[in-house]
Amino acid sequence: MAAPDLNGSFEEGSLPKKFKVNGNAVNGDGSSSNGGVGITYSEADSSNDVGSSSSQFPSYGPASNSQDGDDLLPSYPAWQLSADPTDYPSDSNEASTSSGSRGEPLKHMLDCVEHQYVDERTSKQMLDIENEIKLNVPFVAEKEDLSVLGDEYSDPVYIAKIMDLKSKYQWLRRTRGDGNCFYRSLGFSMFENFMRAGDKEKVEAMKRFMVECKDGLVELKYPALAIEDFMDVFNDQLTKVMETPTDEELLRIFQEQGSSDFIVVWLRFLTVLQLRREPEFYQNFIENHSSVVEFCQMEVEPMYKESDHIHIIAVASLLKIKIRVEYMDRGDSPTVIGHDFPEDDAVPEIYLLYRPGHYDILYRKDSD
């Protein structure tokens, strides 16, 4: 499980965009033996921000806890030596010797700190993106008239495509662009369809199927208790929306972080299950990973990893749900291009709008 054990094929191309800050490898020699090219950042002047900073890290001891409000350690009663019946001498004032008495040459400090700086900056950037997203868009938003899309584009190619979309669809429901948008859109649409249909039999059948899927994952050696948590939340929330079939309840389920994210996780693992069940087939779609198992580990199981065709094919095929994705990009076609998963003549149950890097939910003109 330790990172450095993973050899080889972690390609830069497999990283989500937010990681790709720069094409240079960390070591400058292109070596990627330790799990890949990975997160890089090579701003030339980073050393300007570097300082001798070892002493800013508090060491053991309550004496250093209070400085700049750091929460070094929670204060456990058992650590209060005066209250300790084992009668150790208490001298908390001696605890802090964080003055860096064992000095380090500057070069090492620079090397160390720069290495840390690389990761700090990258993850700081990610955090900023995430915080921004969090503030602006709920996980799943209210339905909006499709014409709102017109406000976002002035490019005639897009205007034409929006016209085309509007001829078929009435509503748009935005989802947060956090890399989970496909799963969140899928989950929401599934729940909404069950709610509208009101068919309790079908819901019970789905819940039983979810239990089977959980067993399938456990057979693949995924940890039973953890997997079960996600399935339980999915099934429980499905039950809830059938008991209280209102738009408010549906939105609540998908807007509350706990339930919403757990449903996303469960759908990710359903995707994993299907991929792992038919590795010979799905192997053909995988470019940057040596195996389906590795692909799942790198591209499906972690949150915030975006979805591609292969994910949609897998989860649609497992759930026996037909999904139509309307692709709207800068391409020359005056119309949006719809892709059906699976490609058959059945009527789609779920409609999604794809714009590069992001999925939202669409509603047909004839829907309510």
């Binding site: 900073s53 070094l72 350690l73 908390s92 064992r102 380090e104 993850s123």
Partner: protein, 284 residues
């Protein structure tokens, strides 16, 4: 200066943004199960990982990882502070190594002197990310697995070096020295003297282990004493001072009677009952 005005994203002791959010119920139930599982594994006692959860706040805990046998970390006492986010297990915990000789010792390519741990599942290293089916126990085991022999091979671009490569061998010797000097001697001295935010539970484990393993460490010192005075060089381009095997050995010997005395006091306290705060620990 680096660090000023910048959000630290790995350090559990600088995670104020988590204070404002109430951990959701899923986080709490998952965490209490994780803790239960950790304590159960601890009782079975073959992992050499010990935890001290905070009764008041399940999202914070201390851990003690004992360096695995047959590695340069052998028997060393490494303490960690762990904090899980309010949306755990969706996002990973943050972990800080507290055993760094006051931020002076880098205990390996992935164990920085400032306490940062480079591990892809913690989001501090490229590679497989955290997934929500992972847990704190898995993180601790991964950290323990970073304490390996030929430790230098955890460094990117050194991974394919032979275990007999002189740099690899020298680095292990350096880690062995620093483990005994800092993770053993310093840690145990603090555990006795009470320069101490250590949980009593950990202090007891450390002292008992010390008595059992001291002869081994003393022998390691004796085997290397001819190197005393040689510089402790490493690929990180720093001079870490010189080897002081003789001094370290003397320190181990000096500590022994003090540990015995401290353990005696502990036993007396136990017999007297009272408000004992030491939980029985799995001590082999």
């Amino acid at each position: 200066m680096w660090g000023v005005g910048m959000t630290s994203t790995w350090d559990p002791s600088k995670s104020k943004e988590w204070d404002s959010q109430q951990p959701n119920s899923i986080c709490m139930s998952r965490m209490s199960r994780d803790i239960k599982q950790l304590l159960e594994e601890e009782r079975q006692g073959d992992l050499d990982i010990f935890v001290y959860p905070n009764d008041q706040n399940l999202t914070k805990m201390m851990a003690l990882i004992i360096g695995p046998a047959e590695t340069p970390y052998n028997g060393g006492f490494f303490q960690f502070y762990i904090r899980v986010p309010p949306d755990y297990p969706i996002t990973p915990p943050r972990v800080r190594n507290l055993t760094t000789g006051d931020s002076s010792v880098r205990f390996g390519p992935n164990l920085y002197n400032d306490g940062k741990i480079c591990l892809s599942i913690l989001g501090t290293f490229p590679g497989p990310s955290w997934t929500p089916i992972m847990n704190v126990g898995g993180v601790l085991k991964s950290i323990q697995s970073l304490m390996s022999s030929s430790a230098l091979r955890n460094e990117p671009s050194y991974e394919t070096r032979s275990t007999k490569d002189p740099q690899v061998v020298d680095y292990d010797r350096l880690i062995t020295h620093e483990t005994i000097r800092v993770a053993v001697a310093d840690s145990v001295r603090q555990a006795i003297d009470g320069a101490c935010t250590f949980p009593v539970k950990f202090r007891e484990i450390m002292m008992r282990r010390f008595l059992r393993q001291k002869p081994m460490w003393v022998k390691t010192c004796e085997d290397n004493v001819h190197l005393d005075g040689a510089p402790m060089n490493c690929i990180y381009g720093m001079s870490r001072g010189t080897f002081k095997w003789g001094t370290v050995k003397k320190e181990l010997n000096d500590l022994e009677p003090k540990v015995l005395a401290a353990l005696d006091r502990l036993e007396v306290a136990k017999e007297n009952g009272g408000k004992r705060v030491v939980k029985p620990a799995a001590i082999k």
